[in-house]
């Protein structure tokens, strides 16, 4: 259990955040310089906030009003640094056991041995960090953090320096670990996929503030603002005016385009922001009839560009007649798996009808940041 509510001013930057977490992993996600690591350092006691409260499992470790500020040594928080911070002059065994100075030699050896096995580090006991691969260093750093059986884990972009396949393996390791022994964990990352994969709850940071906090699916599919939508790679974000309110949907005009959207508490004439995720836009097979699909927002256009990601493609789609009067070369981002791309032969067939299904459109809210 973690409860944080802190403010800190630095030259040219101010942090003002609240967060709470139960026995789960919360991913703090946002661009560089938005205050994510700063928050972790304050929780760990490595930095002192100007004011606020931090309580771990109900125990206040920082409270500016009451003058409480426990040293990092007293907070029982495990911190995994971005550069691992392994002690270069100590062996793997001595690194892992560094925090176990209060245990007897036997107990220490036992605990270190268990971690060596669970983190797949057998055979590396006597090596120095400089003689280990990136993935091995990461596992030693994790073992060292877990050795002291902390009440909470703080992970500061711990996987950012690793190659994808190794990162995937370590993600699986971490998930398995947290499954076996649930603990409050805060993960800082600027990788959206990593944030989603590892977390139950996500918090989006920008310039020292929390823009949105909630279950990861809510943050991904129901962004609170345009900025959050941008950060979470919702690449089709539009601003339009409500033209009509019907019983099951709204009519919204975006520039020269009429769209049927889900219903919402907006009046006619109101300007609102809406979005649709790139993987939700469907390509309609040429043999399907137009007939019934008014509410499915069918539009004609052509693929004017594409980005190949290996296992998926992003298409840059321009609508016929340029209804959006966009200054860019295209209007929509469409993501689809590679096998669909090849099956539909999009390499040669560029003209398509796309569907922006009503249920896939999300109304962010009144026009905002």
């Amino acid at each position: 259990m973690l409860n944080v509510e802190i403010r800190k001013r630095l030259p040219g930057f101010s942090l003002d955040v609240s967060l709470s977490a139960g026995s789960e992993l919360v991913a703090i996600f946002g661009p560089s310089g938005s205050g994510k690591s700063l928050t972790l350092q304050c929780i760990a006691g490595l930095l002192k906030p100007d004011e606020g409260r931090i309580a771990i499992n109900g125990r206040p470790v920082f409270d500016s009003a009451q003058g409480i500020n426990l040293r990092p040594q007293e907070r029982k928080v495990g911190y995994l640094f971005q550069d691992y911070a392994l002690f270069p002059h100590l062996s793997v065994v001595d690194n892992i056991g560094y925090g176990l100075h209060t245990l007897s030699r036997g107990e220490r050896a036992e605990r270190v041995d268990k971690l060596l096995i669970s983190m797949r580090l057998e055979g590396l006991e006597r090596r120095r960090p400089g003689e280990l691969s990136g993935g091995q260093q990461q596992r030693v750093a994790l073992a060292r953090v877990l050795a002291t059986e902390p009440e909470m884990l703080l992970l500061d972009e711990p996987f950012s320096a690793l190659d994808s396949p190794i990162r995937g393996r370590l993600h699986a390791d971490l998930l398995e670990l947290l499954n076996r022994a649930p603990i409050t964990a805060i993960l800082v990352t600027h990788d959206l996929n990593e944030a989603y994969t590892l977390s139950q709850k996500m918090m989006v940071y920008d310039a020292g503030r929390v823009l949105q906090a909630g279950p990861r699916d809510a943050v991904l599919r129901r962004p609170a603002t345009r900025t959050v939508a941008r950060f979470t790679a919702t690449k089709n974000i539009f601003r339009g005016i409500v033209t009509s309110r019907q019983s099951g949907h709204l009519g919204v005009r975006v520039a020269g385009l009429e769209i049927q959207t889900p219903t919402g508490p907006y009046e006619e004439g109101e300007t609102i922001d809406l979005c649709i995720r790139p993987e939700e836009i469907m390509l309609i097979r040429p043999d399907r009839e137009a007939g019934t699909a008014v509410e499915e927002n069918w539009y004609h256009g052509e693929v004017v560009g594409e980005i190949a990601h290996g296992t998926s493609f992003t298409l840059q789609f321009k609508l016929d007649g340029n209804p959006l009067k966009s200054s860019r070369d295209f209007d929509l981002h469409i993501d689809l798996p590679a096998n669909v791309y090849y099956r539909l032969e999009i390499g040669t067939n560029k003209h398509w009808t796309v569907s922006l299904k009503k249920e896939s459109i999300y109304l962010i809210g009144p026009a905002g940041p």
Partner: protein, 222 residues
């Protein structure tokens, strides 16, 4: 051929060794404080530490005389409690050597401490170790090459101290006549044979110390 009295050599070695030891005891914590401490008078403290490197040795000697002399605060304290007069003893020579050499050690140690990734010490803190324990098990072991280079430099400086030493310890042959003072003495008296030998000894000793320092500094850069 009169035998040259080598007492000054042994005295200088003894004085420099004790002064260097004091340098370490005083200078390492000071360097640590200046590197990581965040407190109001930090810049002032830094300036005070560097001062002996910049002031003329006779000025330093004068200040030491004021403080350690029989009329000075420390001098009176020592006389009152231990019945001990500090000026014109070899211990005063140690203090003079310490004051001029400690800035060299502090600067070298500071540079070495600054080269250590602060996350290492932070990691140690989150793992529950005390500040002293972190200093001894992480900071000093990682900075030892820089500290060694600084120690050798400090020793060389302490060994060659002249001006301040002359003022607080005097030139008492067989008691406080260190090697540099003995050379000055010999030249004044026209004993060029003695002077030549003593100069040779001091030059060789200093060159050896500097070579060792250069080696240690190179190893530190690796």
């Amino acid at each position: 051929m009169s035998s040259v009295d080598l007492f000054p050599l042994w005295l200088s070695l003894r004085v420099a060794a004790v002064a260097t030891l004091l340098d370490l005891l005083l200078g390492l914590p000071l360097a640590w404080l200046l590197t990581r401490g965040k407190f109001r008078g930090r810049d002032l403290l830094s300036a005070v530490v560097i001062l002996p490197m910049v002031l003329p040795p006779t000025v330093l000697g004068y200040y030491l005389l004021l403080g350690l002399g029989r009329q000075g605060p420390i001098g009176r304290l020592l006389e009152g409690t231990l019945g001990f007069t500090l000026v014109f003893t070899w211990q005063a020579a140690v203090i003079a050597s310490c004051v001029v050499s400690v800035p060299l050690l502090v600067r070298a140690a500071q540079a070495a401490f600054e080269g250590i990734n602060p996350n290492l010490e932070n990691a140690a803190r989150t793992l529950g170790r005390s500040e002293m324990s972190i200093f001894l098990t992480i900071t000093v072991p990682l900075a030892w090459r820089g500290i060694l280079a600084g120690t050798v430099l400090a020793f060389a400086r302490a060994f060659g101290e002249f001006g301040a030493t002359l003022m607080v310890a005097g030139n008492i042959p067989g008691n406080t006549q260190t090697l540099p003072i003995a050379i000055y003495d010999a030249v004044q008296a026209g004993n060029m044979d003695t002077a030549n030998l003593l100069v040779l000894i001091i030059t060789v000793t200093t060159v050896v110390a500097l070579v060792a320092m250069s080696r240690a500094a190179r190893a530190a850069r690796l």
